[in-house]
């Protein structure tokens, strides 16, 4: 017996000393004597020994519940019943090691993560409302993966799942530098979603002149940076700097890189990174090569350029998660309303500001003769600029709408688009021609209207119905549409509700996704805030007692949009 075993054997009685009447003394010498006899076999160690191995993990950031998250402005937060929370807690979605985690410590780190439900239900991670179970499963898919393609159908919350996954990984110390690349019209929306779902995560937008962009790429320590595809492509030389490196790069609307030889694709693939996540509802827009080219970013080398189509599935299955609304039907609420806050194009902004300045000056010149009608006229003019720039025809809403409608059409879904004017609808009809748009508004003769609705329902190539609030918001049954876009907002949310209810009504078998377009820092934004406050008040106070007498804007509120005192209206009256 060696000395170390002897030491431990002798130490044993002290451990047991309190449990025996007389101390236990192990007869080591006697045991050795037995070994000396030719007929005896060795006894082995008298005291068991143990060895341990250990792994330390990055310290999670913040021991206390984080900054309370606030709901996205104006969005209707689904009511979350207690039974739902119980169901959520029972699901136990956990990030499990993925096949690309090959180091034991990496696998261990994911195996030892708590169920995601615990973090949200227990309020350890503050969120405006708990994610749905399928969204937790999406996060459990993303978090351990270095290479991932989240291809959920539009409206299922790819943005939210990505933000929360990133937030949790950052809190766990597993991510420090993240870059998001997205289309320009979506930058502002991402900022809002980030503020909502990760209020404690500092963000920086890479923009401005070359010097500021260079500083943002190479010097800034912001943990979450956002860049649009155009700037990324322009900064191809800057991103080749050795200092530009990310723990995670996320491509939103990743179908933008489906052409492997494009400068956009080359710039995205040139980014130095440890993890690559791609988000798109349409991973294959036209041909299987689209997917192969996406994988040049997601996991270069996994899918060779000449891979036969039938092998694609087996090569990519580990990295792709796609759910359709049908898949998650039981998790979803009947209706999801999202506000898309958009930043106007430069031309729109210039036209808008000029019109507003001139308009306000004109209102003030009117003095006591100013009437609500005068203010209305200005509001209308500004709202029309929010839709399209009168000179160039540019429209941030159109850019966003094109992306969303393409995704809906790709999934074989149908969409209703509402505007208060016919002109924008006719313009949209031209722009959306590839999606078989049909029009239903005051300029369509009455005798043709029924036929239009029938054709929209039955013709699979018709994905879009363009409607005016006045004509299309009442009395129609359009349950076969699952998407509703409010291209501009009506004065009264009750009218908007009627429009939304064309799709969201008895007979609708699937969830309905409503997107309300709002241009940021404009009259639309101001009106939306007033209407949201009113709706909230209504919901909180009088929802039990029938509809309120007035959900729209009062004259005082209309004057208030331009800080014009109400007394002037009285004088005019």
């Amino acid at each position: 017996m060696d000395a170390s075993s002897l030491d431990i054997a002798v130490a044993a009685p002290s451990v047991f000393g309190t449990r025996f009447d007389s101390p236990l003394t192990v007869g080591v010498r006697e045991a050795r004597l037995l070994n000396d006899s030719p007929w005896a076999r060795t006894l082995g160690s008298l005291v068991p020994t143990v060895r341990v191995e250990g792994w330390k993990f990055p310290t999670p950031v913040g021991d206390a519940p984080s900054v309370p998250a606030t709901p996205p402005g104006g969005a209707q937060i689904p009511d979350v019943p207690t039974t739902f929370l119980q169901k959520l807690a029972a699901r136990k979605a956990r990030p499990m090691p993925s096949p690309d985690n090959v180091v034991f410590k990496d696998r261990l780190l994911y195996l030892l993560q708590p169920p995601l439900e615990n973090l949200f239900v227990g309020k350890q991670v503050s969120v405006p409302f708990p994610p749905y179970p399928y969204q937790l499963e999406g996060m459990a898919f993303l978090m351990p993966r270095r290479s991932a393609l989240l291809a959920d159908e539009m409206g299922l919350g790819k943005t939210m799942q990505t933000i929360l996954s990133t937030r949790l990984l950052m809190q766990s110390g597993m991510l420090r530098r993240v870059l998001l690349v997205c289309p320009k019209p979506l930058v502002f929306n991402w900022c809002r979603e980030l503020k909502c779902w990760a209020p404690d995560m500092p963000i920086e937008i890479i923009a401005g002149n070359t010097a500021s962009r260079r500083a943002a790429w190479t010097v800034s320590n912001a943990p979450f940076k956002i860049v649009n595809y155009e700037v990324l492509t322009r900064d191809y030389d800057l991103i080749n700097d050795e200092a530009v490196r990310f723990d995670l790069v996320i491509l939103d609307e990743a179908q933008r890189i489906k052409n492997r030889d494009s400068k956009t694709a080359q710039s995205a693939c040139a980014l130095r990174r440890d993890r690559s996540w791609a988000l798109t509802g349409t991973p294959i827009e036209n041909k299987p090569e689209d997917l192969i080219n996406l994988f040049a970013f997601v996991d270069d080398g996994r899918v060779p350029a000449e891979t036969p189509t039938k092998q694609l599935s087996s090569l990519t299955a580990d990295c792709i998660l796609r759910r359709t609304k049908d898949d998650v039907l039981s998790d979803l609420p009947a209706k999801t309303v999202t506000d898309a806050h958009l930043e106007m194009t430069a031309a729109q902004r210039e036209a808008y500001e000029m019109a507003e300045q001139d308009g306000v000056v004109h209102l003030k010149e009117l003095g006591d003769t100013v009437s609500v009608q005068h203010v209305f006229e200005l509001v209308m003019r500004l709202k029309q600029i929010c839709n399209f720039d009168p000179k160039t025809g540019e429209s941030c809403k159109l850019e966003r709408l094109m992306i969303d409608v393409a995704e809906a059409a790709e999934s074989g879904r149908k969409a209703l688009i509402f505007s208060q004017w016919v002109e924008p609808l006719e313009r949209l009809a031209a722009e959306l021609s590839e999606f078989g748009p049909m029009q239903y508004h005051g300029r369509i003769p009455q005798r043709e209207r029924t036929g239009i609705l029938d054709r929209f329902r039955d013709d699979k190539s018709k994905h879009v119905l363009l409607m005016s609030y006045g004509t299309g918001s009442v009395g129609l049954n359009l349950q076969f549409a699952n998407y509703v876009f409010l291209f501009d907002r009506w004065w009264n949310p009750a009218i908007e509700d009627q429009a939304i209810n064309r799709a969201h009504r008895i007979g609708q078998k699937e969830p309905v996704f409503v997107t309300r377009f709002i241009t940021q820092d404009t009259i639309e934004n101001r009106i939306a805030e007033i209407l949201d406050r009113k709706r909230q008040l209504f919901d909180e106070l009088i929802s039990q007692n029938g509809p309120p007498p007035r959900l729209g804007l009062s004259e005082e509120e209309i004057f208030g949009l331009f800080s014009i005192p109400h007394r002037q209206r009285k004088a005019a009256a």
Binding site: G44, A64, P114
Partner: protein
């Protein structure tokens, strides 16, 4: 108002399989996020050891040998150790840290100890009471205070993770390395 740091928690278990014993120790922050994990080699007592230790062998292996070693080797300190094993509860005798045992439902000794006032949490629908070691009654108020701070954490859930981690370690041959 001063902010009291929330306690780190240690989840300690020893699994027995075919006569061998293997321990896992997961240290988490109060929200259950992992900070450190320790794994023991598998200990298989030989015949002589079985004879020498007799009926105390299980407690000795679980508490004095594996449990104590795992806790002492860890570099992250904890305020409370939680175990799902009665034998491991005995580790309290050799450590200066409060230890609680999340007892199974309808366990006779657990029911008796709970009746005698050693429960920090009463039994729930899917688990028995949470008990301190009967020789350390002062642990009851101390642990109750800690439980108040950690809220409604499911005390059994982390053991699922520990068992999965042990299974993964076995699959990848890490337990042999720990033994080597």
């Amino acid at each position: 108002m001063t902010h009291t740091p929330a306690p780190g928690l240690g989840f300690l278990t020893v699994l027995s399989d075919g006569g061998s014993h293997l321990g896992g120790y997961l240290i988490t922050n109060p929200w259950g996020r992992p900070l450190e994990f320790r794994l023991s080699s598998a200990v298989q007592p030989n015949k002589v050891q079985q004879i020498l230790y007799g009926p105390t062998l299980g407690v000795y292996l679980s508490a004095d040998l594996i449990g104590k070693t795992l806790v002492e080797k860890a570099s992250t300190t904890v305020s409370l150790i939680i175990t799902d094993s009665r034998d491991v509860l005995e580790v309290r005798r050799v450590l200066e840290i409060p230890v609680v045992w999340v007892a199974p439902t309808a366990h006779p000794e657990a029911s008796r100890l709970a009746a005698e006032g050693f429960a920090v949490r009463d039994a729930g629908p899917t688990r028995g009471p949470v008990l301190v070691h009967p020789e350390y009654p002062d642990d009851v108020p101390a642990c109750a205070d800690m439980f108040q701070r950690i809220g409604s954490l499911d005390l059994m859930e982390p053991f699922v993770r520990v068992r999965e981690a042990i299974a993964e370690a076995r699959k990848m041959g890490v337990t042999q390395r720990a033994a080597g």
